[in-house]
Amino acid sequence: MADHITVNSAPAAAVPAPRKRSSGRLMILSFLSPTLLILIFMVAYPIFSLVYYSFFNFSALRPAVAMKPVGLGNYAFLLSDPDLWQRFVFTGKFVALCVTLQMLIGIFVGYRLQKNFRGRDVIFTALMMPMMLSPVVVGFLWRYMFNSEWGVINYLATTIGLEKIDWLGQTNAALFAAAAADTWMWTPFIILLATAAFRGIPDTIYEAAEVDGASPAYTFFTITLPMSAPVLFIALILRLIDSFKQYDLFFALTGGGPGSSTETVSFAVAKTAFSYFYTGEASALAVVLLVIIIGLSMILVRHLNKMGERF
């Protein structure tokens, strides 16, 4: 009996029901919609409202006061503000110093760590620790170490006969101190990526280079670096963007001082938005920051894609 049933029902099952094209699209959309909704609410909406507020004179402290449209007024005000230019210059210096240090040290240490040796894993794990701390914690940690009276750095300086330096009380010294803290924290990230990139180069490539008579230095500059360039570029992009919007480290380390000389652009956004509550002006500044970061990313990503085509 069971045989009869299967035989009868089989042909019906074998013929697929005619399907509409749109139902496939609907299916795709329904699968994507949770992510899309989250993205719309978490990313798209804030960005649009940010751009919207940047055209108004508005304070989040006094929402009852009517929003006054000022057009490009906020932008005009920002661009003519010499203090803000000062912040861009300072941020630029900080980014250049940090990223250069981190890339150089990261690539050097990564190169040293690519070969397997006893204790490599332990060293590697220890090196990764700073990256796992919160930037605010790192900021306070280094603030104590850089303390001009009882900080360990000045203590070490005096033991070798140097004068005490007021690290956090002078703009240039504070810039150096912040760069040191940021480098301490984020060089491991470069080490991690650089090591992975270097280890991804097949041994035969190095053997071929050795047989071809290339010295270790020549091999490094003509083989190792160019072949890991795509990964190192990603590291560079991420570090550029991240250090460009650095805020919490300065908040904890220098508080923006002395004066406001170590305020980064992000610091200025936060201060304008949440200390002075000039929401419109802060929004405009945030938009400027956003445009710069997007522009930076686009240039680098395009470069990256071009390099990727070769491999």
């Binding site: 097949p202 047989v211 008579g213 020549y218 003509t222 072949m227 360039a229 070769r310």
Partner: protein, 366 residues
């Protein structure tokens, strides 16, 4: 160009002895092929000559000079690897010029040499492409061009053709042999493919388990193997190996249900009968032919299992006792396709000691 001498070469990785007591002299300009199954130590030997692996003991000499302590870059060798070793971020032109650039050769000289190898390898169209854009065969050609561009003393090739598809491999093999004769560079070539070895080599070095089994010219390797291993490794299909069992006053082929041999008629040399040790007989498939059933005089009746032809060659299998044997002959219209009777050509008989596997002849009979 150089003469290479390996003296008592031993290479160990921890407890594993990869290469044991290897002694060999490769003459200036000679094309020597290291042949053997995977893991026999042939590639390790090659890499030690290159300077990529350190010898545990023994000497490696180029023209009499000990080079053990020299790095790969100081030995003036060139090498082509099994898997792609071109620099993927450099154009073909830059890849080929790399060994010269790395050594600081003048630009004009590099350009001249580049023209020369481009001409030899006909690489004109590919010079400005990246390795990723070329098929594997063309990549190995570039690797070869990169190897010969600086006139190395020794050219080392580690299974350079094994990653290339069959059709192109044949062509590359021919070109490689031609090129080596043209340049006259001392060449050591590693392969597990006996056909490659037979067609390219001046001499073949057959290795097994880290030791040299036999060093011989291709013909000698084929016709006078020193052991069962050598006999079976060379030649395709592989050499048949059949037990020889005393049978009354004569001998039988195969243990159970074997075939009785009549020495005079079947061409078995008389000394075989007198051997005090158990022997095995090796016979290459090409020395076994199918015969027409009516010519009773020349054949042995054996159940032929399977017959198939590839072009003008006819392959067949049959059983002697419990051993499965293979034969190959020319498909000839006159002989017909009737199977069932095979003939052994006596000039192809080889005899081996059943216990040691060493080859035994009338002179060396135990």
């Amino acid at each position: 160009m150089a003469e290479i001498r390996l003296e008592n070469l031993n290479i160990e990785f921890g407890a594993f002895k990869a290469v044991q007591d290897v002694n060999l002299t490769v003459k200036n300009g000679e094309f020597v092929v290291y042949l053997g199954p995977s893991g026999c130590g042939k590639t390790t030997t090659l890499r030690s000559i290159a300077g990529l692996v350190n010898a545990t003991s023994g000497d490696i000499r180029f023209d009499g000079r000990r080079v053990n302590e020299l790095s790969a870059s100081e030995r003036n060798i060139a090498m082509v690897f099994q898997f792609v070793s071109l620099y993927p971020h450099l154009k073909i032109r830059q890849n080929i010029a790399f060994p010269l650039k790395a050594r600081g050769v003048a630009k004009a000289e590099i350009a001249r040499k580049l023209d020369w190898v481009t001409e030899i390898f006909k690489l004109g169209d590919d010079l400005d492409r990246y390795p990723g854009a070329l098929p594997p065969g063309a990549r190995q050609k570039v690797a070869l061009a990169r190897a010969v561009i600086r006139d190395p003393a020794v050219l080392l090739l580690d299974e350079p053709l094994s990653a290339i598809d069959e059709q192109f491999r044949e062509e590359m093999r021919w070109e490689l042999g031609h090129l080596q004769r043209q340049l006259g560079v001392t060449t050591i070539y590693v392969t597990h493919d006996q056909r490659e070895a037979m067609s390219l080599a001046d001499r073949i070095v057959l290795m097994s388990d880290g030791r040299i089994v036999q060093v011989a010219e291709p013909d000698a390797m084929f016709f006078e193997p020193v052991s069962v291993f050598a006999g079976q490794f060379i030649g395709s299909p592989s050499m048949n190996l059949i037990d020889l069992v005393p049978n009354g006053d004569g001998l039988a082929l195969g243990k159970e249900g074997g075939v009785r041999l009549t020495p005079e008629k079947d061409g078995v040399p008389p000394w075989v009968l007198k051997s005090r040790r158990p022997l095995k007989m090796g016979i290459r498939p090409l020395n076994i032919h199918l015969v027409e059933p009516q010519r009773q005089a020349d054949g042995i009746d054996l159940p032929v299992d399977d017959v198939y032809s590839v072009g003008r060659e006819r392959f067949f299998t049959f059983r002697i006792g419990d051993a499965l044997c293979q034969g190959v002959d020319k498909r000839d219209a006159k002989a017909g396709g009737t199977a069932g009777r095979v003939r052994f050509l006596p000039q192809g008989f080889l005899f081996f000691d059943a216990d040691t596997g060493r080859r035994v002849t009338g002179e060396t009979m135990p």
